[in-house]
């Protein structure tokens, strides 16, 4: 997390310690790349922390965490979806702190250079989006570099766009989780993305081979694509980059002028924003149960996930969104972030299923092969459906 986030968090810790003499909070910051692994090893080793920022539903299935239902303060108005993600058998097992949302990030300089108007108020239809992408795909006469209208990666940032047609990787049907793309609607929605690469040719042809959103982000920030789909952190990152150029910290670089738009309107008939998931805090069971300590830990968690944190300056810096309805207007005066927060979205990457990560990995690898035209959409979906259904059947 950013220095601003840590500063707000530390002030909450300090205030908590002052209000509870004798209580000392030992905060350990881990990296995003291996923090979850270290946490899992701590749990496996019988020395879990009292409280950790994690969305790993395996901890819920393993019985390693404590339900929070009885501890949620009465005035807290969490969005239902932020609680449902961690709900098992009527009990909620994680405190939702922030939402990660995303949309289409637009390089306004390229739009201006090509004379393409920006989508009004960030809203456009799929056909308008494709037409713009086609006009924004050209060879730069100065550098002879091919510039593409759109770039995405074959991870959830990319295939998550199918929500515009009401289709997701995993969907609830008659109370049972199914592989959402193994349906006629799913195939049809995936075809939209496939067409961008192979029919309209508005993306780099090797986009299916991208290993992560780092690849697509590099293409966008190097000015080789006019649009990309990314999460809210990208807005903060671009603002920081532009600020570092403006104040002379970064020399010899040009700022990236950008704005944000919603996902293009699909079969659902309304603009949407991607919700990749919920950042949450879980309270872990300890080898020796101390109910008084647990009460304090729950109180601390409620502070970390309460209005003071969610309405602080930390959220805009990090590019994340509140989970409390009463805090959801923090971006009223920020046009770019407001675009992402004002519309509905489906949770793309987080499911209350123990095998969700494995399913997502299986699908991402298959989607790579589909986009690279190594296998047809229908065959690719069929190839992976059996494995995914098998994993879903183990719930």
């Amino acid at each position: 997390m950013s220095a601003s986030w840590i500063a707000v968090q530390n002030s909450i810790f300090q205030k908590f310690e002052e209000e509870h003499p004798g209580v000392k909070i030992n905060y350990v910051q881990l990296s995003w790349s291996n923090g979850e692994t270290k946490l899992a090893m701590a749990v496996a080793g019988g020395v879990p922390p009292d409280l950790a920022l994690t969305a790993n539903v395996d901890f819920i299935k393993e019985g390693a965490v404590v339900p929070i239902n009885d501890y949620i303060p009465k005035g807290y108005d969490y969005f239902p979806s932020s609680l449902e993600t961690f709900e098992y058998d009527g009990k909620i097992y994680a405190w939702p702190q922030y939402m990660v949302r995303g949309g289409i990030i637009i390089n306004t300089s390229i739009f201006k250079e090509r004379g393409v108007p920006l989508p009004k108020d960030g809203i456009w239809t799929w056909n308008e989006f494709v037409k713009d992408a086609q006009q924004l795909t050209f060879v730069d006469p100065k550098t002879h570099t091919k510039i593409y209208g759109f770039v995405f990666c074959p991870e959830s940032e990319g295939w998550g766009m199918t929500q515009i047609d009401g289709v997701m990787l995993l969907q609830l049907k008659d109370g049972k989780w199914i592989f959402g793309y193994n349906t006629p609607e799913g195939i049809s929605s995936l075809k939209r993305l496939w067409d961008l690469v192979h029919v309209y040719k508005v993306t780099p042809p090797d986009v299916g081979g991208y290993g992560s959103d780092n690849d697509s982000w590099n293409v966008f920030t190097q000015g080789r694509a006019a649009m990309t789909v990314e999460w809210g952190w990208a807005i903060g990152s671009l603002r920081s980059y532009n600020a570092s150029i403006a104040n002379g910290q970064t020399k010899g670089a040009s700022p990236i002028h950008f704005t944000v738009a919603d996902y293009p309107i699909g079969k659902l008939g309304k603009p949407m924003s991607g919700i990749v998931g919920i950042g949450s805090w879980m309270v872990f069971k300890q080898p020796t149960q101390n109910l008084e300590k647990r009460k304090l830990v729950m109180e601390l968690a409620s502070e970390l996930c309460g209005p003071e944190m969610q309405m602080s300056s930390a959220f805009p810096t990090e590019g994340v969104f509140p989970t409390l309805k009463s805090a959801s207007n923090i971006y009223a005066k920020d046009p770019d972030m407001n675009i992402l927060s004002r519309v509905d979205g489906m949770v793309i990457e987080q499911y209350p299923l123990a095998n969700a990560d494995k399913i997502e990995s299986l699908w991402t690898h298959e989607f790579q092969m589909i986009l690279l035209n190594q296998v047809s959409i229908e065959q690719g979906v069929k190839d992976v459906a059996k494995q995914i259904d098998s994993l879903l059947g183990n719930q």
Partner: protein
């Protein structure tokens, strides 16, 4: 610990002693998993290509360096060994830039030679090749050092005797140098085979095993199962399988080639 966990449906909260025993279930699931098959085949291809290449190149380079005076040898020894002390992650990130299809050095060279450019890391047909090239295009510094050490111990009299028989430099290399370096070659064959079967860093950084599973290898697959999917049982089973494969290769190489090696 891996031996126990490989036969369990390991639970984070229950630990080794209280997790459910599942017999050979993890192994059966593993052997029926197409991802494991892909990783195994890729790892074998990687080993079969890179190990002999590395040994031959090291032998040739060491032979060339050995012909120089000691001060010059030191310069070359340092130059060839230096990449070995650089972090594998940093090297892999450098190779990502080299293999970038649009702005990378590799495609610039191909374009300059009027050859078709490739998608390198982004194509299932070239992703494993890219991983192999990233290792092969760096001189095997450690192997060169060992060969130079071996060459320094070859008695001068053997070369003098060969010269008296009218041997050319190439004949001396073939008939004196290479046979007397067989202990070193055997050692490098076994250790490099063990090392190549454990390839991980470059795959983790450069391709994450993709596109598809075209560059997936056993080391990365074990890591994925354990630390991304928390399937410690199957990961442990796969690590035991890897251990068995490496052990088999090492024993085979020792038995096959040590017969001609006189210690």
């Amino acid at each position: 610990m891996a031996i126990f966990i490989a036969f369990e449906h390991y639970s984070l909260t229950k630990g080794i002693l209280r997790s459910n025993f599942v017999g050979f279930n993890n192994f059966i699931r593993l052997f029926n998993d197409p991802i494991f098959h892909a990783a195994l085949i890729n790892t074998i291809i990687f080993t079969v290509v890179t190990v002999p290449y590395g040994i031959v190149i090291a032998l040739i380079l060491a032979s060339l360096i050995n012909s120089f005076s000691p001060p010059i040898q030191s310069i070359f020894r340092s130059a060839f060994y230096l990449p070995g002390v650089i972090s594998g992650v940093i090297l892999s990130m450098t190779w990502i830039w080299i293999f970038d299809p649009s702005i990378g050095l590799a495609n610039m060279v191909l374009s300059f030679l009027h050859l078709p450019t490739l998608y390198w890391l982004h194509s299932p047909t070239t992703s494993l090749l890219s991983i192999m090239l990233s290792g092969m295009l760096m001189a095997p510094g450690g192997s060169i050092i060992l060969y130079l050490a071996g060459m320094s111990r070859i008695p001068r009299e053997f070369y003098e005797a060969a010269e008296l028989d009218g041997a050319t430099s190439f004949q001396k290399w073939i008939n004196v140098t290479i046979p007397l370096l067989e202990p070193t070659t055997l050692f490098l064959l076994v250790t490099n085979t063990i090392g190549s079967f454990q390839i991980f860093t470059s795959v983790y950084v450069m391709t994450s095993g993709g596109p598809g599973y075209s560059s997936d290898v056993l080391g990365y697959d074990i890591y994925n199962r354990a630390f991304n999917f928390y399937n410690f049982g199957q990961a442990s089973a796969e690590s035991l399988v890897l251990w068995a494969i490496v052990g088999t290769f090492a024993i085979f190489e020792f038995r096959r080639f040590s017969k001609v090696v006189k210690f």
